[in-house]
């Protein structure tokens, strides 16, 4: 991909993000922060590439360190989001909305 097509993906994703995030209900803003935290750990992709590559032991160990950190976030972030979301309950009787 050349720079312009990457930039296009980025700009369009910002637009999508803008509309998607405004549609999140304020009651779920804390889970929103937890889940965005988990998904921003997609940076693990970079960490895996560094950890898998030959040629530079420093880069490899830094990469492995980053894999640990990002994994804490991925597993912790999704797990805590799941835990929070499980707590949100509707009224037991049928809601009269």
């Amino acid at each position: 991909m050349d720079f312009i097509s990457i930039l296009s993906v980025f700009v369009l994703a910002c637009c999508v993000g803008y509309y998607v995030v405004w549609s999140v209900t304020p009651a779920l803003h804390t889970p929103l922060m937890a889940v965005t935290n988990a998904i921003s750990s997609v940076i693990v992709v970079g960490a895996l590439i560094a950890g898998a590559a030959e040629g530079s032991p420093i880069a490899k160990w830094l990469g492995l360190g980053a894999v640990v950190l990002a994994s804490v976030n991925i597993f912790g972030g999704f797990a805590v989001t799941e835990r929070m979301l499980a707590m949100y309950k509707k009224k037991e009787r049928p809601a009269a909305k």
């Binding site: 998904i39 940076i43 560094a50 597993f75 999704f78």
Partner: protein, 471 residues
């Protein structure tokens, strides 16, 4: 442009799908009913991104990688299970710091082994110039996220005073450091020496620290949202370096999410983002209010009075704030609500956007205590109802109920949207003592109104006593 990074087209497609999964994960949060499905899609997206990366790269160090992931997974899952819901702001700040540090490590690894990341210019033996800008920005944002989040964590966790710490000439120091970072990144394009790279990193760590230290406790919702945003931009910058669409899409999503949350929080406090970042709120309010407050008459009520008043009411609106979280009063509060409902009282909860220490903090705590989410209302949905409400029950909130925000132009919180509790027939106001004023250092007119009854006690104890008095 430089020669294409050889990426398997199927891998590129898989990353794109992962990115779409993340979009749908956020989309699911538009209602509690669809939110869990969204979260699962997020997990699927992450599994796809990780799986694709592992399959398309060399397997030589697979065992080490799996061990690293297992260690991280164990720490993450145990923490997520054990954490108390009241401590969620600290946890989120801690998680942000990890994203930041991971971004820094990846950027350093890319600098040490550019060949593996496909950013090496074969002709010159140096890193591509475009990649240098992306890396420079990536490591700067990552380092700011890391050190800023560490300070936010220490403040939220109580290891560090929540009071703003003000350095002399801090604005000049901060602006100077920021300018130096940008200049160094520009210079890095022409000279990719290690020293330049190290200097960018060091200054970025320093600025993250300097930026957050002067910001006080009640501004933390903005800070946490802002760091959330930065962690996204850091991921996006690394995505540019790696030409990875999953990282770019995610970075953009998370970046805009944090930015929008910061905006919502600032608006709810009627403060500009710049003034929050400049820090020091709550220290400069001077002699206003304080002195006049000493000898004004106010009414004290008991738990029995409160129980009686609420049981006679047709509608009670409960207004929780950070004090409820500190006292861990949410479970007792729900018990009280249930008893009232048994008496045929309509019970609603009113939540101000900046109540608590992070966006949505109160909602999570009420959900934890099993309060149904359709009993919980946002500021603009419920403010009109106070006038037809018999009892407004304020627990651990103060500034967000202060009428000075509407009437007193000299007040530091003037213009902030507030919950109009004083319009209710009776206001029950739980507070530890009459001495302290809210975070903004402003006295609250509601304390002295004829229809207000002050309940002076620890929030949890008082609610438990009210529950006893009702039984």
């Amino acid at each position: 442009m430089h020669e294409a990074v050889a990426m398997n087209p199927w891998a590129a497609l898989a990353y794109l799908v992962a990115g779409v999964c993340f979009i749908l994960a956020l989309r699911g949060l538009s209602s509690p009913a669809s939110s869990r499905r969204g979260n699962r899609l997020g997990m699927a997206g992450m599994a796809l991104a990780v799986g694709t990366t592992l399959v398309t790269h060399s397997f030589a160090s697979l065992p080490e990688i799996l061990v690293a992931m297992a260690i991280g997974a164990a720490i993450g899952i145990v923490t997520a299970r054990r954490i108390k819901m009241t401590d969620m702001p600290q946890l989120v700040a801690a998680f942000h710091s990890l994203v930041g540090l991971a971004a820094v490590l990846v950027a350093v690894a890319a600098f040490a082994n550019p060949g593996a990341f496909g950013i090496l210019d074969a002709a010159t033996g140096h890193i591509h110039q475009v990649s240098r800008i992306e890396m420079g920005l990536g490591i700067a944002i990552g380092a700011i996220t890391f050190s800023g989040s560490v300070i936010a964590f220490l403040k939220l966790n109580g290891n560090m005073s929540g009071k703003p710490i003000l350095l002399p000439a801090r604005h000049i120091i901060n602006l100077g450091t920021l300018a130096a970072i940008l200049l160094l990144i520009a210079y890095f394009v022409t000279d990719d020496r290690t020293a330049v790279f190290v200097a960018i990193t060091a200054l970025s760590f320093a600025i993250g620290f300097l930026l957050i230290v002067p910001i006080g406790g009640a501004d933390m919702p903005v800070v946490v949202s802002m760091l959330n945003s930065y962690s996204g931009w850091a991921a996006a910058a690394m995505g540019f370096t790696l030409h990875n669409s999953a990282m770019i899409i995610t970075g953009a999503l998370v970046g805009s999410s944090g930015a929008i949350l910061s905006y919502i929080m600032c608006k709810a406090m009627n403060r500009s983002f710049v003034s929050v970042i400049a820090g020091g709120f709550g220290t400069e309010s001077g002699p206003a209010g304080g002195a006049a407050a000493i000898d004004r008459p106010w009414k004290r009520g008991s738990a029995e009075d409160a129980a009686f008043l609420m049981q006679q009411a047709e509608q009670v609106i409960i207004v929780p704030g950070y004090g409820m979280a500190v006292a861990q009063a949410q479970h007792a509060l729900r018990e009280m609500g249930d008893l009232l409902k048994k008496h045929g009282v309509r019970v609603k909860y009113a939540i101000h956007p900046v109540a608590g220490r992070m966006p949505g903090h109160m909602n999570v705590l009420l959900a934890e205590a099993n309060v149904p989410y359709d009993d919980v209302y946002e500021l603009e949905d419920i403010n009109g109802e106070f006038a037809q409400t018999d009892v407004a029950f304020v627990i651990g909130a103060n500034d967000v109920t202060n009428p000075a925000a509407k009437t007193d132009k000299s007040s530091p919180i003037y213009g902030m949207p507030v919950l109009e509790v004083w319009k209710a027939k009776t206001v029950l106001f739980i507070k530890r003592s009459m001495g302290g004023v809210g975070y903004a250092g402003v006295d609250n007119e509601v304390f002295y109104m004829d229809n207000t009854m002050m309940l002076l006690a620890d929030a949890k104890k008082m609610v438990e006593e009210i529950v006893k008095a009702m039984g």
